[in-house]
Amino acid sequence: MAQMNMLQAINNALDIAMAEDKNTLCFGEDVGHFGGVFRATSGLQDKYGKLRCFNTPLVEQGIIGFANGLAAQGSRPIAEIQFADYIFPAFDQIVNEAAKFRYRSGNEFNVGKLTVRTPYGGGIAGGLYHSQSPEAYFAHTPGLKVVVPRNPYQAKGLLLASIRDDNPVIFFEPKRLYRASVGEVPEEDYQLPLGKAEVVSEGTDITLLAWGAQMEVLQKAADLASNDGISCEVIDLRSILPWDIETIAHSVIKTGRLLISQEAPLTAGFASEIAATIQKECFLHLESPIARVCGLDTPYPLALEKEYVADHLKIFEAIKDSVHF
């Protein structure tokens, strides 16, 4: 075990993936010699050469188009989109191409070896275009897997699983935690399962569900609630698509209450999908309406970021509302 921050854990996972397969490549804007603007790919070009770790021109649709071609050819591309806010020029290559490659060809071809890494989320005074959480756009696309880790240990294990998974994966990295989140991470190779949520702490009164950086906020709210004598079951969804209905439903049947928190705006976020499914699965067990604590339905603000975000106090209030419904 070693102490690593999330960037070191990600860098370590990429190093393992590149060492084990000479057809694995890392590329994107500033990814080469510089090691990426967040330094997630530091040292990889020196170690594996410019043919396998390199800068691309500044063209997101090109980066993902190029990656799709590589994956179809049998290479294992790990493409970086510098900020999730800038993934939209590549939307067509992701939702119309990567996601549909296997289905439309009857499995003559597939891009299962593709992984797209991209930093997402707010809390860094990044304003409209360095703060977004666009996971729900991709969750609406059959054929993709969408994964979000909450800490360095999860990041390494889930990233290695994503790289080796035989489906295209969008791996959203909570950039607020890149350096802020530090923890014990095994230096050796390990994987964590895709499509499986994790019960982080057990409780009896209400289920709290989130993913990525929002897990830290959720835990803070659970601690506040605990002081008030409310027992929270805290779950990290980890995979947005496909998602683990069973673990969530099992927990909600036990607690009778569910609160979902996401950084992204309220309307049509992934929390909405979860709420719809869980009310169907657990209808007769619910003691209160399923609560969603999310960003406002506005672009991501700058000066008023604190007021905008789904912070621990808003969640704490929603927990009390649910329990005392």
């Binding site: 190029f66 071609g69 549909k100 489906n167 496909p242």
Partner: protein, 393 residues
């Protein structure tokens, strides 16, 4: 790390604007319409066997297109896209490659797939979306693909295959393969962002990819002079630092020659090449289109005189490699075969209902399995409403 952002150029002290006139783009022509060859031409590497294979592919192409347009009019297939008048571009491109080279096409390059040996049955099964279609009946007619023949399955969004071809070729280079990727697209698709992304990345990342633009004058109804103002598509290759050639797209010998040289160069130098083949879409864009609304009969007649298939036939006859009797026999046989194949494929069952959820992922998620079970229960309840699948599971 070093870079030199500004290439050398003369320094001037009076403003001097440049434009396209400073780059002259020649057009390669080898074969005349009467079947004779321009003096001083370098012919492609092609023996009689290859020449006859190319010609028979062209003939098959024309017959299949004619019969399938007719089948669409009869309501037997829902949709078709013919390549009348520009068959030489796709067949010639494929003929200039090796079988291990990947072809990534747009949607009007069925000729390249025919040259690779995709069977008549495979074409038919795709167009009739039946259970024997390699694509499992999931895409509209003409979206072919074959792993075995190194022909990437076609997708409808325009230009998306261009940066993919760059990536595919980069992978071939990385693995040291004796193979390149050839990417077809039209002059209309060259307006898409993916064109610029793909070409620039190919030059920067040094990928052995041949970009093959079929400039056929029209994107559905939009003529090329409403598509771009530069000197065709070739002028853009120069801007991206890509070796570029323009050819007469109705001249099969020029197309094959240019492609052979492009392949050699791409492989030896690990660098992209752009070929712009000038042609004309004599037919409609698709069976859903009617060109009489946007162009004149006179314009079409002018191009009918440039028929690439007749031009090649004239050359073959001049070589004494072909005669009228062979010509008649070939076309008669092909017509009969295509008609018979239509009758077989249209009667083959649609794909099994279980294929609704396969290939979304490498294996179906539990959510997908549950959704399929729901659909099956529903179909069983209302079998008359779902005649393709009811009673078959």
């Amino acid at each position: 790390m070093s870079s030199e952002p500004y290439p050398d150029g003369p320094v001037v002290h009076q403003p001097s604007f440049i434009d396209g006139s400073s780059v002259e783009i020649p057009e390669l022509k080898i074969l005349k319409q009467d079947g004779s060859v321009y003096a001083g031409s370098d012919l492609p590497t092609m023996d009689q066997t290859l020449a006859l294979k190319v010609y028979k592919t062209l003939a098959f192409h024309r017959v299949l297109d004619e019969r399938m347009v007719a089948s669409q009019r009869q309501g037997r297939v829902s949709f078709y896209m013919a390549a009348l008048g520009e068959e030489a571009a796709s067949v010639g491109g494929a003929a200039g490659l090796q079988p291990q080279d990947m072809i990534m096409s747009q949607y009007r390059e069925q000729g390249a797939l025919m040259f690779r040996g995709f069977s008549l049955e495979n074409f038919m099964n795709q167009m009739f979306s039946n259970k024997d279609d390699l694509g499992k009946g999931r895409q509209m007619p003409i979206h072919y693909g074959s792993r075995e023949l190194n022909y990437m399955t076609i997708s409808s969004p325009l230009g998306t295959q261009i940066p993919q071809a760059t990536g595919y070729a980069y992978g071939q280079k990385l693995q040291g393969l004796d193979a390149v990727t050839l990417c077809y697209f039209g002059e209309g698709a060259a307006s898409e962002g993916d064109f610029h992304a793909g070409l620039n990345m190919a030059a920067v990342q040094a990928a052995p990819v041949i970009f093959f633009c079929r400039n056929n004058g029209y994107a559905i109804s939009t003529p090329s002079d409403e598509q771009y103002k530069g000197n065709g598509i070739a002028s853009r290759g120069v801007g991206y630092g890509i070796k570029t050639i323009r050819v007469d797209g109705n001249d099969i010998l020029a197309v094959i020659k240019a492609t052979q040289l492009a392949r050699e160069y791409a492989l030896a130098e690990n660098a992209p090449v752009l070929i712009e083949a000038m042609s004309y879409r004599l037919g409609a864009h698709s069976t859903s289109d009617d060109p009489s609304g946007y162009r004149t009969r006179e314009e079409e007649e002018k191009w009918q005189a440039n028929d690439p298939i007749l031009r090649m036939k004239n050359w073959l006859v001049a070589q004494a490699w072909w005669n009228e009797q062979q010509e008649n026999e070939l076309f008669e046989t092909l017509r009969a075969k295509v008609l018979a194949a239509v009758k077989v494929s249209e009667k083959i069952d649609k794909p099994h209902i279980d294929t609704l959820i396969t290939d979304v992922y490498d294996s179906p998620s539990s959510q997908l399995i549950a959704q399929l079970e729901q659909v099956k229960a529903h179909v069983k309840k209302y079998p008359q409403a779902y005649p393709f699948t009811a009673g078959k599971f």
